[in-house]
Symmetry: none
């Protein structure tokens, strides 16, 4: 029992170290040595759990993706569609230190997915899950008044908006404020007639 938990925590420690380095120094500054040092394990241990660097990065992104999805699934959703969507966006936008770190990780891996099939697969599956959930939310919010295509398009729109805002926030130095981040989402939801019922 202690072995299993040791093994799991070692593996997780490695993933955590990767994510930490990606957030602070970028994807291409991740080296096996630095990961080992940060995770406080030997180089051999890193490579025991992730035989290649590629697998190590993919493993870490899979872990990050899993955490994001779990957090969204655990979100308490109410009958108010607008509030639900705002909540979801609030989980994805870099509005506090923790979320900011996560956004930096997400942006780095998402961009990396453009040239790495391994990362692209994880990225796409994350986007698909998000898209499915948001499409359902729009379907629900709009009742029968909207075609499935329109609901899907609205979902694409909101995810793209959030990702673009995260990209801007993460890559510029306070060019865009936290307030603008949330206001931009509200502005688009308003445009889509997803209004606060109150």
């Amino acid at each position: 029992m202690s072995e299993k938990s040791t093994a799991r925590s070692r593996r997780e420690a490695v993933s955590d170290a990767v994510l930490e380095i990606v957030a602070t120094h970028g994807l291409d500054q991740v080296t096996v040595r630095e990961v080992a040092t940060t995770a406080d394990v030997s180089i051999g241990t890193v490579q025991h759990h992730f035989p290649t660097k590629q697998q190590m990065l993919a493993g870490a992104y899979a872990e990050a993706s899993r955490r994001i999805r779990r957090r969204l699934q655990d979100l308490p959703l109410g009958p108010d569609s607008r509030r639900n969507m705002i909540h979801v966006a609030g989980q994805l936008l870099p509005l506090d230190a923790e979320r900011s770190t996560e956004a930096r990780v997400y942006v780095a891996f998402a961009a990396g997915a453009a040239t790495s099939p391994d990362l692209a697969e994880i990225q796409q599956s994350l986007l698909e899950e998000l898209h499915t959930a948001l499409t359902a939310a729009f379907t629900d919010a709009w009742g029968g008044a909207a075609t499935p295509a329109r609901c899907a398009l609205a979902a694409h729109t909101v995810i793209a908006l959030v990702d673009g805002l995260a990209l801007h926030s993460v890559t510029t130095n306070s060019w865009i404020t936290d307030r603008q981040l949330t206001d931009a989402v509200a502005m688009v939801l308003d445009g889509l007639h997803i209004a606060d019922p109150s």
Copy 2:
């Protein structure tokens, strides 16, 4: 004169080579060797024009950024705000092969800007120019009916949407269609009451 033009074309050939490699293999696959080979010049020549790799990348991104801005400035704008904005978005979205290459370059450098001050500076200046122009467009479209803050927010929103759409298009394999790309922009402009006057 021929020497000067040779020199200028050499420098441009190097920049082009960098952008080509970034588009096809990613930012971290750019090596001085590969750039020299692709540009068909010697390593020494590359480093004569860009003494360090950092400067080479920044130079190439500055060149790419310059081209985007020039293209937007050369865009023939009419009295129709919606049409103007659609045109601008059309220049930024990966709707054809050339624009797709450009989007890949943009996404790679934008993500790189998260951890490189040199790139961040160029990235931020590009975003600012875009934002200024779009803010003016919204001010113009909405007349006196909107506060400057609202116009600025709308500009942020549209740029973020376009960047997010480009990110999705570039990092997934036909998960989002060209049609959805343009429809998403239209949907948001509709929401912002930027309608076709006709």
Copy 3:
């Protein structure tokens, strides 16, 4: 009893795996991992039987050497010295697939003996046994007509010839034919007046 036989066969399986890898990929391509995989046992099992790689190689060569000696001892010898010597040479030359594999193993280990005392010891003991037997054969063939030194020299000569032929056969691609291999031995035996009595 079954356990003992299992243990013995495991140990032999490991030796066999080493010899197979040496024959096909060379001495320096032998890794504990590869040996374990080829022998279909765990790395731990390999290292249980041979604590160090050095011991593993020495053990495998000792096994190969044992097999060669046993085969020579089991050779039915008659009154015809020439025939006997031809038979011995035929056991050492790479005249068929099995013997070719063995010759590749022998050449690899013999060369390795130049820089490994452990292998040199096994190599020298194999050569000495061969030399003793051949010296006796020459003494027998020549009767009292030759000094012990001459018999010993003839034995050295024949072994060197056979080893040189094996080296050439193994390291070149059909530069020397099977026929030339046996003819060269016959030519030297003729020169030493070891003639077929018939």
Copy 4:
């Protein structure tokens, strides 16, 4: 002029370092680091001249092979066939310190040729040149009394004998004496009726 000689001596220094390490520690103890240290150049310089380890080893063996051939070509040959052949054998057998080093190098590379096509090519070309020269020598010595096939076979025999003797000398600790090395060659030449005319 000084550059060219510098470049050439650097490259030769690397080859010499490889040969020295092969002679003293064996082919599989050659590392780029050790070669750089021994040659007193940087690692980068080694790899500038020989981009891969494989090429470095092949380059060093080609150099060693070139030296052997040049020495044999420069050998003053007289009308006495036996003396000529003895001279050739004397150049190949490890009869002094320098030749012993060379023999260790030769044995190591020859054995390596069994599993490396690059080395095999060099090895085979060296053997072919040697074989051609010796075949001619036998043809000359025997006049019209021998078929070409018999001359070629005798050449194969002598080369194999010399290589086998070198192998034995190099891989055992004074099991075979220098005197026996030369006597074995003389014994075979006697058997082939290549006699001292005096």
